[in-house]
Point group: C2
Chain length 213, copies 2
């Protein structure tokens, strides 16, 4: 399809599509004449993801470009490719090495992962920014005097594993690996607020059921 | 205890404690002389919560004051009191009434809640900002071409309900209603990033188990 059709079908203005092309967020189309290029369904899908990253995830252009580069790196294994793309997304705070609670939190996270038997997380350790921000969040809780024990965290982690099972089952519905990785990134950015809303609604529901309004 | 001890035990500098007192984020102590006041364990607990709201939740002072006012309003029933405090917290985007996807999203959320049998959420409807931001998030997903069907959302919502059961069980451990509401607010602010990290770690774990690294 032409640029004008790409713009129309995606609802993204032509000028914005051109900007994404210049910023290498969207791969160039196949040149069919000196002034025209052809775009396919892959461009349409990528355009949707770019909007999700920039408009909903509010990622800086350079970060979005990095995420997309990992998505396109076919030399990587599936988990690493997905991991690299997700790791490039904005994540929580970094552990504060000067705070005495950080060492406690680090030991707690290690105990939690052992109890869960999550060997990949144990193996990758704090190479993963997600792991690091888990340590940092827990250290903050401890510092503010809201300790949470490993048993409680493990229960919540097991439920999150069930969520992840559903997430990955949903990804299986896509036919190509590129689509799956794109959808996983979109899900990380777009579904997190949705899941947080569902949790708060569920709390209100559970409270009303137990104690009335 | 004196102001100096309150500062020491909480790790909050004296000047900051005085600022919180001036801003009515922390109730005044019991006056014991012209220049001295006495503070109790309730002050210590409140100080912890104020720090969580301002430093971790990054709430504006006026918003924090509103949240705390609901926590202190003993005239309300438990669910309403908790709800009012949670509703005053920052939440997701508001539905865009000019977007055609908003009506679709609204109908989907209503179907979801019916399927779940969440009568309180159905009854309160979009009075709840959490409900409104669920509609807004879903409308964004639809607009960007990532539709998610009610069956998938219902599965995730049921898992969030199990999370909420654990959340409320944890609150039962506190002996007073004021402590429970405070802890619920702290949990909403402090545990959301933690839960998001656990979900991402779980996704990586599940992916590694299914497909290798």
């Amino acid at each position: 399809m032409r640029l004008s059709e790409l713009s129309e079908r995606s609802g993204v203005p032509v000028a914005t599509v051109k900007y994404y092309l210049r910023e290498r967020l969207l791969p160039a189309g196949t040149r069919i004449s000196a002034t025209q290029a052809d775009y396919d369904e892959g461009h349409l899908r990528r355009l949707r993801l770019v909007r999700a990253l920039l408009q909903v995830g509010r990622l800086p252009v350079a970060t979005a470009r990095e995420v997309l580069a990992h998505i396109d790196d076919e030399s990587l294994g599936r988990t690493i490719r997905l991991g690299a793309a997700l790791w490039a997304l904005p994540h929580g705070p970094e552990p504060d090495e000067d705070a005495p609670e950080t060492a406690t939190a680090r030991a707690e996270v290690a105990r939690l992962l052992s109890e869960l038997g999550w060997t990949t997380a144990l193996e990758l350790g704090e190479l993963s920014p997600v792991h690091r921000s888990l340590v940092a969040s827990l250290a903050t809780l401890i510092r503010l005097g809201y300790p949470c024990d490993v048993t409680y965290l493990a229960q919540q982690a097991r439920l999150m594993r069930e969520v992840a099972v559903q997430d990955l089952d949903a990804l299986e519905l896509f036919s190509t690996e590129a689509e799956r990785v794109e959808a996983a990134v979109a899900s990380a950015v777009l579904y997190e607020p949705l899941l947080a809303s569902l949790r708060r609604l569920a709390q209100a529901e559970e409270s009303a059921e137990r104690y009335g309004l």
